[in-house]
Amino acid sequence: MTQTLIKLESVKKVFLTDEVETHALDNINVEINTGEYVSIAGPSGCGKSTLLSILGLLDTPSDGIYLLKGEPVTKLTLTQRARVRNREIGFIFQSFNLIGDLTVYENVELPLTYRGMRSAERKQRVTAALERVGMAHRSKHLPSQLSGGQQQRVAVARAVCGEPSILLADEPTGNLDSKNGEAVMDLLKELHRAGATICMVTHDARYASHAERTIHLFDGRVVEESVTTATH
């Protein structure tokens, strides 16, 4: 049975700079169900990344309700939000955002260390995640020793190793060539097939079509929702 994982009701985000109000998001109503693969599409500056930041609890809405697994999360403290992020959300960024001083293994392990998980369990999960993305053989390398595609696969491993409720991907192919971009999209599709809930921001229609459903944003508003009938 399909469950609502994320529900946004009348969410607004207003930025105040030099006494000028910028409405980044306006009256957003979105639901994402467990196991769904949703893409958020729209032109540059339409509010896609802001929406993703709110979904990932990296930012808070100025108004509206955000329910994650049925629980309101807009009023949480910094520490509570960090814990929710750590357990429920996995991030995949456009620029990979791996920590240069840490090895591949340590980068993937990082979210688990904040969970207070025992070393043996961490090792098991990290190894499994790296094998899943085909990077186990590079576990002792530093990010600077990897190609962009490999770095993004490590970032995916980091996102999934904690078994979060949802993966949030922000332009995951933005810094990759088409071949590596396709490979990462295939990886996401594979994860989705295995049951992962994915919400991906992209401005590329080709990659948006990988998702089951696409939410179109324009000027901070949802202007259209479309369901993909066929997948690549």
Partner: protein, 831 residues
């Protein structure tokens, strides 16, 4: 041309960042200034040469070995360096080819009166050859000559120092021929010594020079071969070595000792001491830098202070290096453009080092102001007479030293960032964006760790000195210092005969006793705990198993009620009474240490002793009382074997009075001069203060070291704290994105704090550990200056490390708060 262009660019570049430039200059000014201040003292004590022609030719005479009789050494040197008046006259007559004539001098307390006013000043008795040997010419009139020193008492003349003439007579040339009353004797002013010359002793600045032949008139006292008190010096002939002159003197000196001295002295020598006495030699040592009583102590003190201030400078340099590394990172874009346009790496290093040198020299310039302030602070601890001798002077050596420190510091903190920028590839052609590498962070962390280490070492050293001072302040003195006023009267300086002086002292004591609030009054010839002393050899009748090398006892002559007034317990027998005068049998009180030294047990009262050793014929003195042990001349030294004699049984010199008071001590302190003026309006009351103040003055060196070390340690901790702050703030700014990633994947604010804390902990713990090792070294160096404190005390070292860790935590507070508040969405977007 290239150099001048670089200078122009450097000035412009420094001016563009006024805050950073000001912070760097202020840091350096503090570091360099405190070093220059100490150097100025070091210069005065150790480096400065006498302001006389060819000072390297001046040699000081000494003759180590036992000297029977009384020895009175002063600020000019130890007891090895004093000679009797007759022996000096014998030596003065020697004709040698390697040496000029031998000259003599000795300081004396001088009450100077002119125009109806009397003031206590310092005088110097000088032999007729004194100024000739020094090759000095007068600023006005004439100097003292052989004619003035030929017949005792026949030449009542005086020469003024330039400073005394300028301050007291407003540099009036008409002063020549006028009378100056010196210790009650009218002397005619015949000249003024050259400007800048104030005797040959560093810490002794006289106001007047009086012919040695006037000694009986202005400094009454015995002048026999058994009284050793004159300091001698001479001038080597050009191109003569000290050893050659010593060799030439050996024969005549040995003959003098054998034929003239020994026959007079032999009765005071034990059999075992006779051969060494006959083999005494005359030694010459360099007098180019003037005389000092304890030159090695001055070197140790200034060496210790240099060690401390040197560390402060190193910390300041590390701070500036840290600032400059951050600045180089900031400017990596600009420097990369220079490289892209064809500048060489060496050219860039030169530019960066040049900027650092300019900062260093600016810091040195500003440091001179800090130096003056520090020197004033330093001198504030010293007695007024020493302040004149050590006054901060901006001479060429101090300027050179300060400039050199500026250059060396500039190179020290300039080369590191410059080389680092090139080596770590912070600056690369084509890379015009500012960037910070991990290597940069490592270097900056290394510098901050070094600062923590140096500051920890200084904090530990300061704790050592503070503990030492605390121990000295609370040490058991054996007397009650509270509620006692002390002052000195020297009526003999105003021409009192011994009989008149004794009668005057009696009247003064009676007048003091009659003052409201006064409960007891006494007096002594040697002021207690004032770094003065009088030691004598004694032979106790019937004493057995006495160590013959330890027959010297510390002596003082006292009035009645002395033990009672000072709160020294009387353990057996009685105190002196008015009846213990010149007509009564000689008596003495000894202390417990005396009874232990001479194995007298509990039966000291009634025993007899004599002054001297060997076949002595001095009168027997009966012990009538035993007192508890009390410290004598120095708080640091253990209570010595001590002998109290009634001053009424001999001629009295100056007496130091003690007045015990109940109630308001200040009103008694204020009323004493009036009480004495009513007895003699021309007699100055000298050194009027509480006994507690006098004892505090005895600890001036310890207080100076403790205060200076504590101030410098706090300064060092502050600088190190700023260094840590700069590094951590840099880490947070540089790793903002990393912090954003960590927060994005679930790091709580506490996790961020822990992450930053780990970096701080490395610097603080590693720095403290190294600092403790450094502190052990400094503790070892300072051992001779410490009292009853272990340089390796775990509590002190641990306390210093803990204090530095607290400083580190405080320094980290703001960067940590900033890191904890990082909004990941902003941090990640910044990339």
């Amino acid at each position: 041309m290239g150099f001048l262009r670089d200078v122009r660019h450097s000035i412009r570049s420094l001016a563009r960042r006024p805050l950073l430039t000001a912070a760097a200059i202020a840091s350096l000014a503090l570091g360099i200034g405190v070093n220059s201040a100490i150097f100025s003292v070091f210069d005065r004590l150790v480096l400065s040469k006498l302001p006389v022609p060819a000072p390297d030719q001046i040699v000081i005479l000494s003759s180590p070995g036992r000297k029977p009789g009384s020895t009175t050494a002063g600020d000019s040197g130890t007891s090895d360096q004093v000679f009797s008046y007759p022996l000096f006259r014998d030596l003065e007559r020697l004709s040698t080819t390697r040496l000029s004539r031998i000259a003599a001098h000795r300081d004396f307390a001088a009450n100077l009166s002119h125009d109806g006013a009397t003031a206590r000043r310092e005088g110097l008795l000088v032999s007729g050859g004194y100024f000739r040997v020094l090759q000095l010419a007068p600023a006005l009139g004439r100097l003292i000559t052989d004619e003035d020193d030929r017949t005792p008492g026949a030449s009542p003349v005086v020469v003024l120092t330039h400073r005394y003439w300028s301050t007291e007579f407003k540099a009036n040339p008409a002063v020549i021929g006028r009378a100056l009353i010196v210790n009650g004797v009218p002397l005619t002013i015949v000249g003024v010594a050259p400007e800048g010359f104030a005797g040959t002793t560093t810490m002794d600045v006289p106001d007047i020079f009086v012919p040695l032949a006037m000694t009986p008139q202005v400094r009454p006292g015995p002048l026999t071969r058994r009284d050793h008190w004159l300091y001698l010096f001479a001038r080597l002939q050009p191109a003569t070595e000290k050893a050659q002159a010593e060799a030439e003197l050996r024969g005549p000196f040995t003959a003098l000792i054998r034929d003239v001295e020994f026959p007079v002295m032999r009765s005071g020598l034990r059999d075992s001491e006779r051969a060494p006495f006959l083999n005494r030699r005359l030694r010459l040592q360099s007098g180019a830098h003037g005389r000092q009583q304890h030159p090695e102590e001055a070197r140790l003190m200034t060496g210790m202070l240099f060690a401390v201030t040197g560390l402060v400078l190193l910390i300041a340099c590390a701070n500036v290096a840290n600032l400059l590394i951050a600045r180089v990172t900031d400017r990596s874009g600009e420097l990369a453009i220079r490289l892209s346009l064809g500048a060489s790496a060496a050219g860039l290093v030169r530019l960066l080092v040049l900027e650092a040198l300019m900062l260093g020299l600016s810091g040195a310039l500003a440091g001179l102001i800090v130096a003056r302030g520090t020197a004033s602070l330093l001198l504030g601890f010293l007695p007024a007479e020493d302040v004149t001798a050590l006054m901060f002077q901006l001479n060429s050596r101090v300027l050179l030293f300060t400039g050199l420190l500026g250059v060396v510091s500039g190179l020290l903190f300039g080369v590191v960032p410059a080389l680092h920028a090139i080596r770590s590839r912070t600056v690369r052609p084509g890379n015009t964006r500012s960037s910070t590498s991990r290597a940069t962070t490592r270097v900056r962390s290394g510098l901050a760790t070094a600062q923590v280490a140096l500051a920890t070492a200084l904090l530990a050293t300061a704790a050592l000195f503070a503990t030492s001072l605390g121990n000295l302040t609370h040490v058991e003195l054996g007397l009650n210092r509270d509620g006692v006023v002390t002052f000195r009267l020297s009526p003999y300086l105003n021409g009192y005969s011994p009989e008149r002086a004794t009668a005057f002292f009696g009247r003064a004591a009676d007048a003091l006793r009659a003052m409201p609030g006064v409960t007891a009054v006494s007096a002594a010839t040697i002021p207690v705990l004032a770094d003065e002393g009088w030691n004598q050899n004694v032979t106790v009748d019937g004493a057995v198993d006495v160590d013959t090398a330890r027959t010297t006892v510390s002596t003082t002559r006292t009035d009645i009620d002395y033990l009672h007034t000072l709160g020294i317990p009387l353990l057996a027998g009685r105190e002196f009474t008015r009846h213990d005068d010149a007509t009564a049998p000689p008596v003495a009180i000894v202390n417990r240490a005396f009874t232990r030294q001479f194995n007298l047990g509990d039966n000291a009262v009634g025993r007899r002793f004599r002054f001297g050793a060997g076949n002595i014929t001095t009168p027997e003195i009966e012990i009538i009382g035993v007192a508890g042990d009390a410290k004598y001349s120095n708080v640091r030294d253990a209570a010595p074997a001590q002998l109290y004699l009634p001053y009424r049984q001999s001629e009295a010199g100056p007496l130091t009075f003690y007045v015990r008071v109940t109630g308001d001590i200040r009103s008694v302190l204020a009323a004493i001069p009036g009480t004495i003026v009513r007895l003699d309006s021309h007699l100055p009351v000298e050194r009027l203060q509480t006994l507690d103040t006098q004892i505090q003055e005895n600890l001036v060196r310890d207080r100076l070291l403790a205060t200076l070390a504590a101030s410098l340690a706090m300064l060092a901790a502050l600088l190190a704290g700023l260094g840590l702050y700069a590094v951590l703030a840099g880490v947070v700014a540089q790793r903002l994105r990393e912090i954003g990633i960590r927060v994005a994947v679930g790091a709580t604010p506490r996790d961020v704090r822990r992450w930053l804390g780990r970096q701080l902990a490395w610097m603080a713990l590693a720095g403290s550990a190294v600092g403790i090792i450094g502190a052990l070294g400094l503790g070892q160096l300072a051992r001779a200056l410490l009292y009853d404190v272990n340089g390796a005390s775990p509590a002190l070292l641990g306390g210093a490390a803990l204090a530095m860790i607290v400083v580190a935590i405080v320094a980290a507070a703001i960067p940590t708060q900033r890191a904890m508040r990082v909004r990941p969405v902003v941090a990640l977007r910044a990339e």
